[in-house]
Symmetry: C2
Subunit: 217 residues, 2 copies
DNA sequence: CTAAAAATTTAGGCTGGCCTAAATTTTTAT
DNA sequence: ATAAAAATTTAGGCCAGCCTAAATTTTTAG
């Protein structure tokens, strides 16, 4: 049985690893967990002793199979609770992260099973992220970034890569909603910003910074 | 802001205080929190420093107004989550205590407000305990114990005073359900056990130990 | 290729919440 | 009234998870 803190490290290692290739660095973990590198090193020794990570000094870190299984279990819980908070309690997608961060640690297999059923076995959380299966598989979505689309293309907004309140509220203001079909009408050659058309009437300016964090298909 | 552990002490002090008059003892707290008396003393000093309890050495402990407000807030959360687990997720009333024990510590005012609305502003939890109001009032129910009823009386089962899985499962087996009207048909003079009639056909034996933990009106 | 910079680990220390053993206070029984 | 028993507190210590400062290793720049 892992502590709250150990679970957070596993989840964070998974999330960082999925954004790059190779090992995850101590510093990156320190930044994500809002602690210092020395504290991370302590915890890595502990997780390595429990065989939840592969760890060689100075060489970064990688989850073991068991570590990945646990990480995916925690991410599954997190995403299911986010669905609950948005769909059942009516929170905005920009409000639920911190609460889900706490709810994900509630220790009960049965609770997750029943929550999943109650929610109708959702496939995606409110940010478009796929919900890992009960057996610990992360569905591969094969989305592209909006910033990689070509002018003239019509694409569907599928997910966000950035979960901060500020980013999500910015999308709210721009009427950029998951599930919308948008047409890329113009790509600025200088700053790579994008003009997209939503429906027939509305044209929205999307900066490169934003477009890089929007996944489409 | 209180720690998880501090919240548990406040809740436990409230619960013990409501079952007796006067101050709550260190030993009683040690038993309820499954720790040792010395550890309780440590925590009492801390809570007294924060002015959440009135505490004089060797004299037992009592909540301050602020302490009681916090305790009732935690109890409110606990009972709302129990309603959620039973009514929305379909858990049995004998299965939800430990999960609610964790859920009650999730830190979000807004979450409690929305959960309450989602559940339709319930007045009682699945064990018949009243849910404290948002402003921190504990509704007074004025129930009696079944063990205090007289032969011939018809009473309604309202709540249980013991929340252990074993006790609740025993009630399940005996078809003693909250809301049922039962008639006390006989009180054994020797062991104070009770025979109650449920509906027209069924007669159930209720030991004094059980009758003492059933509240009726 | 090497020296400086960056990243990481080690050493030693802190706090919260727990423990045991010993000391102290209160209660109970004679 | 007082001695024994029970309850409580104090003293000192442990572990998890964090910290800073110093030491070490790796990476990078010239």
């Amino acid at each position: 049985m892992q502590s709250f803190t150990e679970e957070n490290y596993l989840k964070t290692i998974y999330n960082l690893a999925s954004k790059q290739q190779g090992e995850v660095s101590t510093n990156a973990l320190a930044e994500m967990t809002a602690t210092k590198a020395a504290s991370v090193t302590d915890m890595l020794r502990k997780l390595a002793d429990k065989e939840l990570i592969h760890y060689k000094k100075y060489q970064g870190v990688r989850l073991t199979e068991e570590g990945e299984r646990l990480a995916l279990q925690i991410i599954r819980r997190h995403r299911l609770w986010e669905v609950f908070l948005v769909q059942k309690l009516g929170f905005g997608w920009d409000e639920v992260h911190d609460m889900a961060e706490e709810l994900e640690h509630i220790r009960s297999e049965e609770l997750v099973v029943r929550l999943d059923t109650f929610l109708g076995h959702p496939q995606f959380d409110p940010h478009g992220d796929p919900i890992p299966t009960p057996t610990g598989q992360m569905p591969e979505m094969g989305y592209r970034k909006l910033s990689d689309a070509e002018a003239g293309e019509a694409v569907c907004l599928r997910a966000v890569m950035e979960h901060s309140t500020e980013f999500l509220q910015h999308l709210n203001h721009s009427s950029l909603t998951l599930g919308s079909i948008v047409t890329v009408s113009e790509i600025n050659a200088f700053d790579k910003s994008v003009l997209v058309q939503i429906g027939n009437d509305r044209t929205v300016f999307v900066s490169y910074e934003v477009a890089k964090n929007l996944l489409v298909s």
